[in-house]
Symmetry: C2
Amino acid sequence: MLLDSMKNRRSIRKYTDQDIPESLLNELFEVAARASNTGNMQLYSVVVTRDQQSKEKQAPLHFNQKMVTEAPVLLTFCADANRFVKWAEARDAVPGFDNLQTFIAATIDAMLFAQAFCDAAEANDLGICYLGTTAYNADKIIDALNLPELVVPIVSVTVGYPADPLPEQVERLPLAAVVHREKYTDFTPESIDALYKAKEELPVNIQYTKENNKATLAQVFTDIRYTKKNNEYFSEVFMQVLKAQGFLK
Amino acid sequence: MLLDSMKNRRSIRKYTDQDIPESLLNELFEVAARASNTGNMQLYSVVVTRDQQSKEKQAPLHFNQKMVTEAPVLLTFCADANRFVKWAEARDAVPGFDNLQTFIAATIDAMLFAQAFCDAAEANDLGICYLGTTAYNADKIIDALNLPELVVPIVSVTVGYPADPLPEQVERLPLAAVVHREKYTDFTPESIDALYKAKEELPVNIQYTKENNKATLAQVFTDIRYTKKNNEYFSEVFMQVLKAQGFLK
């Protein structure tokens, strides 16, 4: 029955006016903190934004997606080695956490905490939407939220009670596209055709390709949504963020 | 009630002999695939290891932690832009996905998929344990599982039915250590003392510090478990992996 609710989930971008009680939010954080993490160091943190002015300030950093200002709560999940290092330094311990491996461990911790939060929130009738824009504009989000060294924002999530009507559930690829048995089986033109057939034949995707004046659905992604130019620009920004925050020399 | 089960969870390292039916495993993957992902590109994959020889081959890459060979199923979750790029290339689209930003997006996708799988698995009475060793020995795991370019293993998870007796639940820091309101509030020696007091006073942690011949609990982490030397060595390995797999120039 949890499986049913998880299976029927969809990202929610429109919310009712109903606020989220602080007690429920704390309960969900308590639950999420039970998720696995690296060596029980809990190398993550979350910044809760409820203040409307702060949401409006952050909105452009998320390309003005409306749910940032419309959701009652905006959460920013961070890879965080700062608290652990401050503890170690206060306890005659010499940490060596200013490196890529620690950043990866902290990113894993932050994402497991975020997803456990979202699963728990949805089981409590809340709706959520992840924002991938956080890793693009990490430098500006660091400024907006006063994040110190060894803290890097990875994703943001908007949370609220879903407004009617609920959006349609979007498609997923067949399991064979993501699950490999014993070894990774690389793809051939034929297996790609088979795995993407249903997705490409969906009326909504045919329409989407046409609206964007592209010959194929894939071109909408490579030419418009996730261009080489943008990916490279934001990669450079993120590399500088890792250096500035002390995870990379 | 889901909250209760999530709140009472613990990582499980000892399993009964009961196998996991393929139908249940597939159902859990279907559910996990409903988790959010970047632009519905599903930049992740999972390699399922059931074969005992393959588990034994991988065990040393996970520092011979026993659950790798004892669990019925070992899963390796990967950041994966390979399938998407193969699709784009077959559809007259020119992808620009060989960069750090794509790696971060794919790592996020892989972790949300992994954690949704674990939440669903635990709601079905399975036990799981994450292995952080995957990011240490990513180069060797790539060889063992035949991972192609643009695929990087991030975490592994062992899965099975929990053996009695269940382990004790381990402590977590107070919420105030991980949740910040509106802005990040950095820590002072006083706030560190307050947040770590309960953890440091736990008999099990006092004992653990003594067994390791250290003056403070923090020193067990910095001097033994996550040393600067190891962190820097494995950071260099991971940097080379990102280059070899095509995510970094």
